[in-house]
Amino acid sequence: MPVTSAAGVPGPAGGVPDPNAGLPGSGAGRERLQAADRPIPAPAPAAEIAAQTTRLVTLCHGAELSAADQGELERTVLAQVEAALVLRRYPLLNSDEPMLGAGPEAGWAL
């Protein structure tokens, strides 16, 4: 197993070169492929994400939804995507742990 940094770049593993370096699937290979072969796409607008997600949810759910229910679902998904985008703008450290609950197990000693 190659040792990689947080950025996915192969690091020194006892001085032994990573035999998979440069191949698809390894960190450096992925990065090179993304950079060279296909541009990293810009994030889709929230409405587009919501529309595609709604189709997926409907597909996964399996039940037929009325047009009104479909509309409600799409509005909710859109709000959810927008909320998630707001949260992604909030800066977090790699070490920031989730607070799963507000009870005694959740780090009240902060």
């Binding site: 759910h61 939804l65 229910d69 409600e72 679902l73 607070m99 609950g101 009870g103």
Partner: protein
């Protein structure tokens, strides 16, 4: 004693009457069973009346008092439970058509503790279907119809603890137990002019109560005074191994020196902006009272994405708690049209986003705890408006208001909050202030709330037409 003198008595007053022999628990129970039927049902506040078991419990309470066994301030006092709380042998409908025949033959911890405290369970009180967790935008989203506000029966109580709010405000029960995930105790308390306490997360075991959002759900008292809330909380608080979130810290309301002044209150800057004029005026009057009782300082609510954090966490947890229900397509059986597909969105919520919300939540908790700890309470209007019409959608009314952000700060952090009436606003309907406290700071909140109640004169006010002699 005329029965009309009993309907709006405090727990302390009813207890004194019981111990002096002026009334019996059996007499109180019969009286309030009648009130539930004649007053509670027309308000759509009642899910089930449990007359037989209530009379048995009352007879036991009387017999125990007669032989000198006094279980404390709730001994012999009747009450009601929100119908998401399990009681063996009685329906537990969760307020929803798909569960209208549900009977859960185990006893919720909160009911068990109240029974051990000698309280008498009269019945189950109405709730918005599934405590509103599947989404709703209209007051009629309940198995029992829209709960009507005793202050004006053309208006709604708010939700989701709508039955407890209506029944307590109308003097159909001396107190009740509600549940709160995003404001379901404090909001209907505000609109019906009662006092609702959402204690620190973990103070009260949720064992036996319908789970909606595990890291937000709380049970708590809905009463006609802060002092009553303290007495009830003392009876229901405490660790329960069946609820892993329940706290080990003991809670006592009685037997301590209660404070009546010298409070330090932080008023949340900007929180009254945009609320109805009367809500603002009553809030400012409450702040003026606190200024006379101690010190008042302006505080800034830290800048966090409160609404987004709350939405993402609730979506994920509610979607998980009801995954089989949603997968089976049964949400389409719910009354609220909004509920039919609303929570299917949980299927599209990445775990990463849920965890990100919970990671931000830790920052919110640290900042809010730092902010609240030096104060007895942080104050803001509870809701921006008085109660809205019972036959109209309330969509969009609550989510965008500043008071709701303050409420969400308490929801997210698990800090205690209490809704206290401040007076009457538009059309004579009640207005309220929310007081937020630091973790485990319930007694500081309750003392501040009691001091405010004593000065506003609210405790003597009754919804018109709900005394027996008025009704006659």
């Amino acid at each position: 004693m005329r029965p009309a003198d009993l309907a709006f008595r405090s727990i302390g007053e009813l207890g004194a009457l019981l111990r002096s022999g002026e009334v019996t628990s059996a007499g109180l129970t019969d009286y309030f069973l009648g009130r539930l039927e004649t007053v509670g049902r027309p308000l759509n506040a009642v899910s089930a009346i449990m007359a037989d078991s209530a009379r048995q419990e009352a007879a036991l309470a009387d017999a125990q008092l007669a032989r000198g066994l006094d279980r404390g301030p709730l001994h012999g006092i009747p009450y009601g439970l929100k119908d998401i709380i399990a009681v063996p042998g009685a329906p537990t409908t969760w307020g929803a058509v798909p569960f209208s025949g549900q009977v859960l033959n185990y006893e919720a911890a909160v009911g068990e503790r109240l029974r051990n405290a000698g309280a008498v369970l009269l019945g189950k009180l109405a709730t918005v279907e599934l405590a509103g967790g599947m989404g709703y935008a209209d007051p009629d989203a309940s198995l029992t119809g829209p709960a009507l506000n005793p202050w004006d029966t053309r208006t709604w109580t708010g939700g989701s603890s709508s039955g407890p709010a209506a029944a307590t405000a109308a003097g159909a029960v001396p107190f009740s137990i509600g549940s709160d995930t995003g404001g379901s105790i404090v909001m209907p308390a505000a609109w019906t002019g009662i006092t609702g306490l959402r204690a620190t997360h973990g103070r009260v075991s949720r064992h036996g109560a319908m789970a909606l959002s595990w890291s937000f759900d709380r049970l708590g008292p809905m009463c006609r005074s802060a002092a009553d809330c303290g007495l009830v909380l003392e009876a229901i608080a405490g660790h329960d191994p069946r609820d892993p979130s329940s706290l080990r810290e003991p809670y006592r309301y009685r037997g301590r020196p209660a404070r009546r002044d010298n409070f330090r209150i932080g008023v949340v800057t900007g929180s009254p902006d945009g609320v109805q004029d009367e809500v603002q005026a009553n809030f400012e009057s409450a702040v003026a009272i606190f200024r006379e009782l101690g010190t008042v300082e302006e505080v800034e609510l830290p800048d966090f994405p409160y609404a987004e954090v709350a939405d993402i966490i609730m979506t994920a947890e509610i979607g998980a708690a009801f995954d089989e229900f949603l997968d089976a397509g049964r949400a389409s059986e719910l009354t609220a049209a909004k509920a039919h597909a609303h929570r299917l969105a949980a299927l599209a919520l990445p775990a990463r986003d849920y965890l990100r919300a919970q990671r931000i939540r830790r920052h919110i908790f640290a900042a809010l705890d730092d902010l609240a700890r030096p104060f007895d309470a942080l104050a803001a209007p509870m809701l921006g408006t008085v109660a809205t019409p019972a036959d109209r959608s309330f969509a969009g009314l609550l989510s965008s208001s500043y008071p709701q952000l303050v409420n969400l700060a308490s929801v997210i952090t698990g800090m205690p909050a209490i809704s206290v009436p401040t007076g009457r606003g538009r059309d004579g309907l009640p207005t309220a202030v929310q007081l937020l406290g630091a973790r485990l700071g319930e007694n500081r909140l309750l003392d501040a709330a009691s001091a405010l109640e004593a000065r506003t004169g609210w405790l003597g006010q009754r919804p018109p037409g709900f005394l027996d002699d008025e009704a006659a």
